[in-house]
């Protein structure tokens, strides 16, 4: 599906009624007039102008790209770097204004760029883009203040093994340590432990060399964050002769696409172990997604009837709705007699996951040093994930395991029934209180996205938050690669949910990688009111770039962690966890140029979802649905059982 182009009018204006903002503007003007009547002349009855996307945005996006070269006045360090990014097919840049030389040249050279409201939000967007596509994306911020704003989301990207290129300006070398100018800081130590590679580029003619370092690290081996900081001296240095630039040769010479192949003996050993196993489980880690190995995975699993569970910061490289999926069969996983970890970047420790104690284990990983970490292995194989799965698919003989498949299917059915039984109880709570229980919200979203008129593989979702997160994790599904993004994966950040889905929305809008078949579809994010404090203003960015999102906000008037204040018997602490009640995030959304919906019942939510999806799919509008809930639903003694973590691995997993 594709978006219909949006005009610069707001939803209310398009309906032909009196523009809401014009009305509000008149009210505001009248109020101001009353206050100032005796002392100042009136402002007049001029309406406050409507929200609109500036013409300059459209014109700027349509401006022709330009690649700088050595002719004339030469090429700057920033342009050298931008050209390198273009040659490396950097998929997107997300930034807040700052680091001007670098971001301007990256935009000018023709790389898709998006400017948002905060550096942190744009870093999350870059992470969301990489999770939705598997491609490298960059984020950028200005020197100290902008760069430090990104830290939470740099860390989030790091623990998600996202190949995010973090760029930041950093004053000039000539004035370093002089206190002559503001905003200088030592950036690289700040990202220590949060990156794969980082460098403050201090020698101008090495800008290309270190750019190559960056992409070599981003696109080789196990991906992760790379951080470059650019002093002004480097970004503005001019070169009129290529010979003045060090290591100035193309990507085909500064990095390699070579991959590790499994040894034939080890591969045969793995095939024998799998063949002898009665109940094998293959854990398909993030490396399977990174290497786009989902077809080989499917082929191997179906040929030999292995049960598969996907894991990692983006879900769907093995579909939840596949008959061999064990993602909702944690009880049955305890029956496994062999576990094969493939591309599991962050290994669980023994006893964390629902796998039998002491189960035989094969681990396949591209880096030898990680084999045996956290989890004892019977067979460790150094190999690229895709190469291994292709070899496995070729080497395994066809086999049927009907009793094992039935056991897993029966367990999945049991869990689905348990979820529905819980929903009945929570539905009663919702009706008794006239407030949405988060579980009921999750169930409604589930039914709308996967059991209604929409292709259940279409919509990319993201979710976060505490109380709402416990419910969303149980109900959202991934039926194809990169369909679900658990924002809180591993690092557990609160708040970047909406901003991260900005990047995922860009990926879907542009139809990149696994999103190609669903280009232009809306994205959905389920988040909490606490998260609004971090990301709400990025709704402006969605609207500005015409990326349709449906942002479902569970509004329980508090940080979901408020039971900490009660559980620790510290009643004087409770106020710190609470917000004003009944805040209208839907109204705030309207004032950012999006649609707003307010719901308190499942029926209202159902109708709002339909309206919002229609508006997104047909007109490209974004909507925020404010779901009024109740914080007390998180108190086990009042409304048992309070939602909690899902067993891992599988649906609802947030770690490893």
């Amino acid at each position: 599906m594709r978006n219909h182009p949006r005009t610069d009018k707001t939803p209310g204006e398009k309906k032909g009624r009196t523009p809401r903002r014009a009305f509000l503007g008149a009210v505001a003007a009248a109020t101001a007039a009353g206050a100032l009547l005796k002392t100042q002349p009136l402002f007049g009855d001029t309406a406050i102008p409507s929200i609109r996307i500036p013409k300059a945005v459209t014109e700027s996006l349509a401006a022709p790209p330009r690649r700088a070269d050595f002719s004339g006045t030469g090429i700057t360090g920033a342009q050298v770097f931008a050209n390198l990014c273009k040659d490396e097919e950097l998929a997107a840049l997300f930034c807040a204004a700052g680091n001007y030389h670098i971001i301007n040249e990256i935009a000018q050279v023709g790389i898709p760029c998006y400017g948002g409201r905060t550096e942190g939000g744009m870093c999350a967007a870059a992470d969301g883009f990489t999770r939705a596509t598997g491609e490298v994306a960059a984020c950028s911020g200005t020197e100290g203040p902008g760069f430090t704003h990104m830290i939470m989301n740099i860390a989030t990207a790091h623990f998600a093994n996202s190949p995010v290129l973090v760029l930041a300006s950093n004053q000039s070398i000539q004035q370093e340590d002089s206190w002559k100018r503001i905003q200088f800081m030592y950036q690289q130590p700040t990202t220590e432990g949060l990156k794969k590679y980082g460098k403050r580029i201090t020698v101008p003619n090495r800008v290309y060399e270190y750019g190559a370092y960056a992409f070599r690290n981003l696109k080789s081996g196990v991906p992760n964050v790379v951080h470059l900081d650019f002093p002004l001296d480097v970004a503005t240095e001019r070169f009129q002769d290529p010979s003045k630039i060090g290591s100035f040769y193309g990507k085909e010479r500064y990095r390699s696409e070579s991959r590790a192949y499994p040894g034939s003996k080890e591969l045969q050993q793995a095939i024998d172990m799998i063949g002898k196993a009665e109940r094998p489980v293959l854990i398909a880690g993030h490396g399977v997604f990174v290497r786009k190995a989902w077809d080989a995975l499917l082929q191997a699993a179906e040929k030999h009837e292995m049960v598969v569970v996907g894991s990692g910061p983006v879900r769907g490289h093995f579909p939840d709705d596949h008959r061999l999926s064990g993602s909702m069969s944690n009880d049955a996983l305890m029956s496994a007699d062999l576990v094969i970890f493939v591309g599991q970047y962050l290994m669980p420790t023994v006893g964390e996951w629902t796998l039998p104690p002491g189960v035989k284990t094969i681990r396949v990983h591209p880096v030898q040093e990680d084999l045996g970490r956290n989890w004892p292995v019977d067979l460790g194989i150094v190999s690229d994930e895709k190469v291994f799965l292709e070899a496995l698919a070729n080497g395994l003989p066809p086999k049927k395991r009907p009793s094992w498949v039935d056991e897993v299917a029966a367990d999945k059915q049991k869990r689905e029934q348990a979820n529905l039984a819980l929903n009945e109880r929570y539905l009663k709570y919702s009706r008794d209180t006239n407030a949405l229980h988060p579980w009921v919200l999750g169930k409604e979203v589930h039914d709308f996205l996967y059991k209604g008129d929409i292709d259940p593989k279409q919509t990319v979702t993201g979710w976060g938050g505490n109380m709402i997160g416990f419910a969303s994790m149980r109900w959202l599904r991934a039926n194809r690669p990169a369909q679900e993004i658990p924002v809180v994966y591993q690092f557990g950040p609160m708040g970047p949910d909406l901003a991260m889905m900005m990047g995922a929305g860009v990926a879907v809008q542009r139809g990149i990688g696994p999103q190609a078949a669903y280009q232009g579809a809306p994205v959905v994010v389920v988040t909490g009111d606490a998260g609004m404090g971090f990301s709400l203003l990025e709704l402006d960015t969605f609207v500005k770039y015409k990326i349709p999102v449906i942002c479902i906000v569970y509004n329980n008037n508090s940080w979901g962690t408020f039971p900490f204040a009660l559980g620790m018997n510290t009643p004087r602490a409770l106020h710190m966890y609470l917000f004003q009640e009944n805040l209208r995030y839907d109204k705030m959304a309207e004032h950012l140029g999006a649609r707003g919906e307010y719901v308190r019942t499942p029926e209202e939510l159902r109708a709002a979802l339909k309206r919002s999806y229609d508006a997104a799919a047909k007109q490209g509008y974004s909507t925020l649905i404010n779901c009024q809930g109740l914080m007390e639903f998180n108190i086990d003694k009042l409304y048992p059982p309070a939602p909690s973590f899902a067993p891992e691995p599988g649906v609802g997993a947030v770690s490893h």
Binding site: D337, G351, P641
Partner: protein, 149 residues
């Protein structure tokens, strides 16, 4: 038991002094808690005296746990998961706030009974407690972090 220890299932595994023909072992296992395993060949039992601490005897948790344990004899379970009554019998008991598990060996196959007992405790922590309405218990009694589990 040593095989489990070698595979990292539990830590600090060691034997305690034998008393009156009763062997005992100690290890650190789920939630970093100390577990004792008592092997009484005269009574033909394997017993873990404290599987779940601080459980009120009339609580829903204890009621549910009894059903969970009894369910492991169910004929509907696949062979590889069921505790076969002709080979061993499991029961839980409540004593001074703690819940214990005892496996009675009926056919002399201690290896079978031990394997099923270890799996049962493992499932208690990874399936029973996490799938049921026991968040407060996990946090208050077993030291789970309410934010991260």
């Amino acid at each position: 038991m040593e095989d489990y220890a070698k595979r990292g299932v539990f830590r600090g595994f060691h034997a305690l002094p034998v008393r009156h023909g009763v062997a005992a072992f100690r290890m650190i296992w789920h939630r970093d808690r100390v577990f004792d395993l008592i092997v009484d060949t005269q009574k033909k039992t394997l017993r873990i005296p404290v599987v779940l601490p601080a459980v009120p005897s009339r609580s829903p948790l204890y009621r549910d746990f009894k059903a969970f344990v009894a369910g492991h004899h169910a004929a509907s379970l696949p062979d590889h998961r069921r505790i076969e009554r002709t080979k061993a019998r499991v029961r839980c008991a409540h004593h001074r706030g703690s819940v214990s598990l005892t496996m009675t060996v009926r056919d002399g196959d201690y290896a079978y009974a031990l394997q099923r007992l270890i799996h049962l405790v493992h499932e208690t922590f990874l399936l029973f407690l996490t799938s049921g309405p026991y968040r407060d218990y996990l946090v208050d009694q077993l030291g789970a972090d309410a934010e991260i589990g």
